[in-house]
């Protein structure tokens, strides 16, 4: 399907790149403006300053570093937990025979259809009873499993050849050995996709985190920033500096894993 491409295609593609990028560029530019010049369209390069970043990262009035730390802790725990829980479950559905496998899998599929907001109220009540509001437990433990990722994992392991398993059996490996020594080392693309999706989802999570965090010290970055905007909405340079500090880690991860990221999206697309 290689054919000559009209230059008009390039023009359109580049124009849309601008649409995609300008909001970021404008936010970066604004975050370096001094407070007095935030609304000036053009501030000369010599007037640009790091003041809003310094303020965010050091001012005792904003616990930005604490929010960042909370975000990292929560996202890392949830990601690792999901990797373990989902991979084990997906593997069991793909590769083991046991009674009630079909019905159990149907339950996971059915739950996938239910929007998470349905359990917003009971989850809040449950976590309040456990005393987990404003705790790391509350922000992590309920989110360690994802039916969708189990589904994805199952598809991945179903696609692997049976010969692999038979060869391992001949070599005298049991079910655990086959998983840990044969299949797990081969599932790097699956691990990468899951890591990226889960990390991204959690890093950007807002509905649940704003429900479960009411004390400043337990805010994750999105909740903290929303609050920062609510309090100092004239200080756009600070708010946008915060926005960029929230965005940059995700963009770095995206660049590192870009290939798997896009593949992950595509494979999950071909259901």
């Amino acid at each position: 399907m290689q054919r000559r491409v009209s230059p008009a295609f390039y023009v359109v593609a580049i124009l849309y790149s601008l649409v995609s990028l300008v909001p970021f560029v404008w936010s970066i530019y604004t975050s370096f403006k001094p407070t007095a010049g935030v609304y000036d369209t053009w501030v000369p390069l010599s007037k640009l300053t790091l003041q809003s970043y310094k303020y965010l990262l050091t001012s005792p009035q904003v616990s930005f570093m604490q929010w960042l730390l909370n975000s990292v802790i929560v996202a890392v725990i949830v990601t690792i937990g999901n990797l373990i829980v989902n991979t084990l479950a997906g593997y069991a559905f793909a590769r083991f025979r046991f009674p009630a496998k079909g019905p159990l899998f149907m339950v996971f599929l059915a739950v996938m259809m239910i929007p998470g907001q349905v359990v917003l109220v009971p989850m809040y009540i449950l976590l309040a009873h456990l005393g987990w509001i404003n705790t790391y437990q509350g922000l992590t433990i309920p989110f360690l499993m994802s039916p969708f990722m189990i589904f994805l994992t199952r598809q991945f392991f179903l696609g692997m050849p049976n010969e692999l398993e038979e060869a391992a059996k001949v070599d005298g490996l049991g079910p655990w050995g086959i998983f840990f020594k044969i299949f797990l080392p081969l599932s790097r693309p699956l691990i990468a996709t899951q890591t990226i999706f889960t990390f991204q989802g959690n890093w950007n999570s807002f509905l649940w985190t704003s429900l479960l965090e009411s004390s400043q010290n337990m805010y994750t970055l999105p909740v903290g920033l929303n609050n920062l905007y609510g309090q100092y909405n004239a200080y756009w340079n600070q708010v946008l500096a915060g926005v960029l500090l929230l965005t940059i880690p995700m963009i770095i991860i995206f660049f590192i894993f870009q290939r798997q990221f896009v593949q992950g999206i595509s494979t999950s697309g071909i259901k």
């Binding site: 995609s20 604004t30 907001q117 349905v118 009971p122 499993m145 039916p147 929303n226 697309g269």
Partner: protein, 300 residues
Amino acid sequence: MKRQRPQTRNRFDQAMAGYLFLLPAIVSLCVFLIGPIFYALYISFFHFSFLDPQNKQFIGVRNYIHLFADPLFLRALWNTTLYAIVVVPVQTAIALFLALIVNNLKGRTFFRIVYYLPTVTSTVATSLMFMFIFEPQGLVNNFLKLFGIHGPNYFNSPTFALPSIMAIAIWSSVGQYMIIYLAGLQDLPAEVYEAAALDGATGWRLLRYITLPLLKRTTFLNVVLSLIGTFQVFDQMDVISQGTGGPLNSTLSVVLDLFNQAMSQNMGYASAIGFVLFVIILLLTFIQKFFFERNDEAGV
């Protein structure tokens, strides 16, 4: 008999391993999803305040009936529907258009990354970025001024607030659907195109009669994912209106209403909203499926 023993042993081992591998997922499923779903259903039949659960009052389906007489909920439902009706087709169309364009270009990876960046960015971040861009004296209005247009105060205007949020949503999700389309395009069989080319089909006709029909499954997936996503919209509405759904409830979404009802201790009522949302999403998915499958049979 001796040969059977290792086999049953093996089968038992497999079953045990299977259950053990599933154990964490099942515990989590029961405690944090299935249990809460049933509890949500249960309290949706009660007048239930979290402050005072002892005094919960069984009211049958009154929460559900009340929903459809509640101007706030109806407004939220209307806003969300409108939001979906605009966002889903526009976003799907732009995504398809960009995928078709970018598919044959050199530097495809570059465009793919650039278009995908907004999707990676948190909705809170994109909302805040655009709130500044849509300020009365912001970038958009300064640009419009070049053409002598006096732009509105977007997020304080009941007319412009929701459309502005729609624009942000489209901007931030086009990349995701474009990637799925690109994957679909890559899967199209080359032979079909060769045959069509022999028959003299080119350009527009190729697109209309070959590419679009072959992409139907991809389109179905995109539309369903997009519909499910749009009906669950919350983040943008909450950040931009600071939780109020204003101005004049023009940006109140179903989930924002649910959230606010739960926060104001109307737990049973909030649960009922959750189930109505669930039914809507389920219905839309079935309708979509029916629609696409019927077209399949008709060979359109």
